[in-house]
């Protein structure tokens, strides 16, 4: 089975995000970069399928030089090889242009399943997997929490509000992974050593025949609206008194209950 896992390098979830003074982007100083957590679920699932059915896992990643670290992490977890799409023309690519670049890198490779994270936790767009499927002309199941592959098809479970859908899909397909799919493994020390020797192909926009021209642009970054300072409820300093005061305020002042 040939499996592709797309990964992105993003700021760690504990990172404080500061907007640059001119609103042109975020200040990347001091940020710890990690593999997008949702992509990690995709890589882990890819490795489990390889362990079950045999075959190869290829990592595809778009990002600057530092993103190589994320590719190496995936290789250390057990993936076989990588493609690093690195071109300044693509750093600001929107979801469509990103999917175009990924599709160009993937076209021509053999694949049965392509994994993407359901969204990257930096731009939170959640579009790339679906666009990629469309560009490759294959089906997509998004937000998958359980996957069973059987022969030429797969059954994927995805949550919607108040229910879980079990969806059958033909292969090849794109699966976007979400929390619940699995518990990603840590890279072992021998894995980390081996990863250093695994092949990673570096490609630029010209080699892929894409321009990176984006249709959606973030024209301005702004900090979140400040919240007015809150009130600490003391009342008569008993839990009963505080609870009564709180319920009263929620009813009469905030008018939310």
């Amino acid at each position: 089975m040939n499996i592709i896992a797309c990964v992105k390098q993003v700021p760690d979830t504990e990172a404080q995000i500061k907007v640059k003074a001119d609103g042109s982007g975020i200040d990347e100083g001091g940020i710890k970069w990690v593999m997008n957590p949702y992509d990690e679920f995709g890589v882990e699932e890819a490795l489990r399928l390889k362990e079950k059915f045999g075959g190869e896992v290829t990592i595809v990643c778009l990002g600057p030089a530092r993103a190589m670290e994320t590719i190496r992490t995936a290789l250390a977890m057990g993936a076989d090889k990588g493609i690093h799409i690195d071109d300044p023309a693509l750093y600001e690519a929107d979801s469509y242009a990103t999917a175009e670049a990924l599709a160009a890198a993937i076209k021509g490779l053999p694949y049965d399943i392509i994994f993407c994270g359901q969204r990257a936790i930096d731009d939170d767009s959640g579009q790339v997997g679906s666009i990629l499927a469309e560009l490759l002309g294959i089906p997509v199941v998004t937000m998958v929490t359980k996957l069973e592959v059987e022969g030429n098809s797969a059954k994927a479970t995805r949550p919607i509000e108040g229910a879980q859908l079990v969806i059958s899909t033909s292969l090849p397909c794109v699966i976007t992974a979400t929390k619940g799919l699995n518990e990603p493994r840590y890279a072992s020390l021998p894995g980390i050593m081996k990863a250093k020797k695994k092949p990673v192909d570096i490609k630029n926009a010209a080699a892929l025949g894409v321009s990176g021209a984006s249709k959606a642009k973030v024209v301005k970054f702004v900090p979140p609206p400040a919240r007015p300072p809150g009130k600490i409820i003391c009342a008569d300093d008993t839990p009963e008194g505080k609870a009564a005061e709180l319920v009263k305020l929620l009813r009469e002042e905030a008018k939310v209950i």
């Binding site: 469309e134 199941v141 998004t142 929390k179 249709k215 900090p223 009130k231 505080k242 609870a243 709180l246």
Partner: protein
Amino acid sequence: MAKGVFFVAECRDGALRKVSFELASTARKLADQLGDEVGAILCGSGVESLASELAKYGADKVFVVDNPALEPYTTGAHAQAVAQVVKDNSPSILLCAASAQGKDLSAALVGKLATGMATDCTDLRIENGRLVAVRPMYAGKCYGEVVISSDPQMASLRPNVFPVVECAKAGQVVKVDVALGELKTKVVEVIKDTGGKIDVTEANIVISGGRGMKGPENFAILEELAALLGAAVGASRAAVDAGWRPQSDQVGQTGKVVSPNLYIACGISGAIQHLAGMSSSKYIVAINKDPEAPIFQKADYGVVDDLFKVVPEMTKEVKKLLG
């Protein structure tokens, strides 16, 4: 030239979901600023009778694609149907819901229509005849203002944020036949969550518990209060990773981002990844024993005390209120 503000209505089990009216009202507001018409796109099986409800909230036209293959929802079938209506009518703006179904559909549509989209928007405005979409990024740690150079300019709207405003229009029904190509996915089973639980992204009130809940059994006190208030019960990553609550309840950067009217955080210290998922709530209450907990910096009302004493007392007070 592209013209018109269109939106994709969302139905489930034969009824329109509330977010459809939020979409209709928002489309109406934008169309009035542009001097354009509002077109609703309604796809499903036996859904034509729902068109008049969309007219009530501002739809000039309702494009109805009625086909048994559109029920239940699948990405492939709905994306083909909506894309057809869009290609035939060339709207300048296309709005979708940022619900589970809407996120899935809208992302596939971006691929089919080769355009750009701002996901999960919390505000939309028109500048120089083009859409400016405001959306949280990094789970709300910052916001981005997005403009889209291609048509239709797509935006998905975060449920529960945009107001529903009645504004009756003609709602002229336009039936559209779409020849659906081969469908590669199929819903084989629908497993309903037990007890008619409200999803954290859809509830007006969310009561969440964290590590301070000390164990899964103690969530019962949150559930009792939630039942009285019609609230959903959420959880922090710590509570989910401990196996106390299902993943679908997790609020935060690696869970769901919520914007209810009222968010009550119980025994949650307020790790940045949790704060990111709930800071856009209208009112935030924090109940925590530790006065230094970062959650208090986001709270409108803070109670420094033992949640196991405060929450049951709140339940008593609310019972009194509701008679």
